[in-house]
Point group: C2
């Protein structure tokens, strides 16, 4: 459970100031990605479920309030007002698993101003991180072109919570399993894993280690063959499989070296021994483009273990997200800072045959447009009961599968992706022009 | 509290197999960084405190054991043996805040083999992540050359736990405050922050917003001046300061645009108005090298807010860490996989005038050498009482301050850092040669 104190100090300053002044009318904040990283042609929305959980349980605990008063000099009245706060707003959001692009709101909050402000930090944190990882993982799945991909990232994610999120988000992206046992349990995922090099080294010989493992775990026997010398390890695996007459499912794992050459050699050795059914699993610092190279080169690989570089989204470890006030008390507002211009007003996004269109929230939809933003919370309560963690993952994965079919080839290209740019509806453009003129002329006195 | 199930499935397979076979003699595992990222000349050790907390409380809960039996096909005997496991080993580690280099163990575990194996994933996760961030943050502090640096990363870290870690690790590195209120409370740090653009936009005018904020938070009045137009915002800040006769501490914050030009212009305007005491704070996607550029160009900046790129260590979001079995039951072991050769045996690192020397753990120290690895846990208990979170941060920051003085200029260089390479002692080299010969000749049957 993430507490309400999980926020930036300035959010608390602003909220307290608003509360003192009775500035509690309804505001709409819009959360979106300004620009995609150069190596992303599309994003996969994720992080909504944990974000909604936070909003539902939003409250300051007594100890947190004492801290605000005693250490951060908030007044008794501030502390009392903050203590009474709950999140009572409405939330529109793009469901997890859907494909989104820059400039499209991932989420909008319409709530009394102090509430909408206080939840900024947490909403940005969750949606930025989960969406980064789901988008990166989706690239790995595209690269694998139908082969299995397994999450091996736990040991080098940015903390243990991050590992849990990565297991979940990579499952949304289509990974078939995770090595992370706690996350598998929590999210109803398949756990996968066999042995490490240290296991081989702890036995007098590689063959002894293989024999022991096969005896102990006959249902998940994948021999790690590169501890000393890969072709030698493959030979040992073949010998042990034949000696013990092991039954499928069986596999070998290569974790180092030239994976194209070694997997080809291993496949030949296995086939010659009549072991066509033994699967070849590879791992070892693989990234989306490495997988793509191996698949295009025709490497006889059945499954990829993908770790660190997916788990931290190494080539794009964050997204350029923003959470901007778009409307206060019925007045559209916008920011004109260089490179950070925001678009005013509550919005909607429609997916049409001619691309995505960002509109004013309530304007009539473009012909044949499908709405991306769904009302997921009303008056601080979910509009639908919260799914179980496992249901949430399965539903999100299905959405992604369906959406990917409509993503242009150029956006799916792994090496030079070109992200589609959504259009603004004429009404939204007119609203932006008006708000801009009003800001520049200083005519902003209207409530 | 992180549970024992926070591990990779293969660790559980191996541990269960070892337990079945009575392979519970003492093993030593060594955790180290294989190579530094090209943009790092040194690392700052961090993550030990959370790792020790995990080891102290290591145990499988009943629900976790049921999951292992019912979903992952572990036997009743496996589950019973795992349920009885606690961490009873010894741990040597480099204290947090110390400077370390590639090839030097950050931590060694000497414990019964199954215990040492099961804790691999969590130890790697914590030490890799915290050390990454502390090392990145140390570069920001070096770049700022004495000016204040504040952690603004919460909104785009890889999860909320990650944000907590970043606040802590950046404080170890010398950051003077964090925007993250929950982390400030937890680790005894200074919380900092004033207002966002949305605050300005929520008022009829910028001047109204400044007046309101100054009235509400006279002790932390820093005006954000770039919402509409920076020089105009500075002018408004000056007017409001003079109109309300505001007293120091006062500041302005620039969050966009050409920070060198704008800070110079702002300083001039403030000075001309007799407001030499008003500090200039800058933020907005800053990285270590941006800070360095501004400082070298003589920008009149008093403090830097550093966010996302520090918080995810964007240029090096992970480290190439390994946790390798170095010895089992008195026998040194090593791995010969391409590019992943490990050095056998339990080790120590000595810092000498002539550079760092990695030795066998118990060999006589080189002349004048200072030991880096300290015995922090014996028989599963800390050798010293756990410090409070605040004490841990302060002690680590002092260690870093002391160590930085001895880091060569070439390693501290921000643009082309050259990391010193530790030497191996002659005895350790001889041991490695012996073990290699033994592995290659297949003579590994001992003992």
């Amino acid at each position: 459970m993430i507490g309400a104190l999980a926020t930036d100090l300035y959010e608390l300053n602003m909220a307290a100031s608003y509360l003192r002044r009775g500035m509690t009318r309804v505001a709409t904040f819009s959360l979106f990605v300004r620009r995609l990283p150069p190596t992303r042609g599309f994003l996969v929305a994720a992080g909504l479920e944990p974000a909604l959980g936070f909003l539902e349980s939003f409250r300051f605990e007594p100890g947190e309030l004492e801290y605000l008063r005693d250490e951060l000099a908030f007044s008794d009245a501030d502390v009392e007002a903050l203590g009474d706060l709950r999140f009572t707003g409405d939330v529109w959001a793009v469901p997890e698993g859907r494909v989104v692009y820059a400039g499209e709101p991932l989420l909008e909050v319409t709530a009394p101003l102090p509430e909408g402000q206080l939840v900024e930090t947490l909403l940005l944190n969750q949606l930025t991180f989960h969406t980064s990882v789901a988008s990166k993982a989706a690239r790995c799945v595209l690269a694998a072109a139908g082969r299995d991909v397994v999450d091996f990232s736990f040991r080098r994610t940015q903390g243990t919570d991050a590992a849990d999120a990565v297991a979940r988000d990579s499952a949304i992206a289509g990974f078939t399993a995770t090595s992370n046992v706690a996350a598998a349990r929590r999210h109803g995922l398949r756990a996968a894993g066999t042995m490490a090099h240290s296991y081989i080294e702890a036995f007098p010989s590689e063959a002894d280690a293989f024999r022991a493992f096969a005896a102990d775990f006959p249902h998940r026997t994948t021999f790690l063959v590169d501890t000393y010398d890969t072709p030698g390890g493959v030979r040992t695996a073949i010998d042990v499989i034949q000696e013990l007459e092991l039954e499928p499912p069986l596999g070998i794992r290569l974790d180092s070296g030239d994976l194209l050459a070694l997997s080809s050699q291993a496949r030949e050795m296995l086939d010659e021994a009549g072991l066509q059914h033994v699967r070849i699993f590879v791992s070892g610092g693989l990234d989306d483009l490495d997988i793509d190279d191996l698949v295009r080169a025709g490497a006889p690989i059945d499954a990829f273990g993908v770790g660190t570089r997916m788990g931290v989204s190494a080539d794009a470890p964050y997204l350029d997200t923003a959470y901007k006030l778009a409307e206060y008390d019925g007045r559209p507002v916008m920011k004109l800072s260089p490179d950070k211009i925001s678009v005013p007003g509550a919005k909607q996004v429609y997916r049409t045959g001619g691309g995505d269109v960002v509109t004013i929230r309530d304007e009539p939809p473009p012909d044949g447009g499908e709405r991306l933003l769904v009302k997921v919370m009303k008056d601080g309560k979910r509009t639908l009961p919260g799914p179980t963690p496992g249901e949430a993952v399965v539903a999100a994965r299905r959405r992604l599968e369906a959406d990917l079919a409509s993503v242009p080839e150029s956006a799916r290209d792994l090496r030079r992706p070109q992200a589609p740019a959504p259009r603004m509806s004429p009404r939204l453009e007119a609203l932006a022009a008006e708000a801009r003129t009003a800001v520049l002329s200083g005519d902003r006195s209207e409530p």
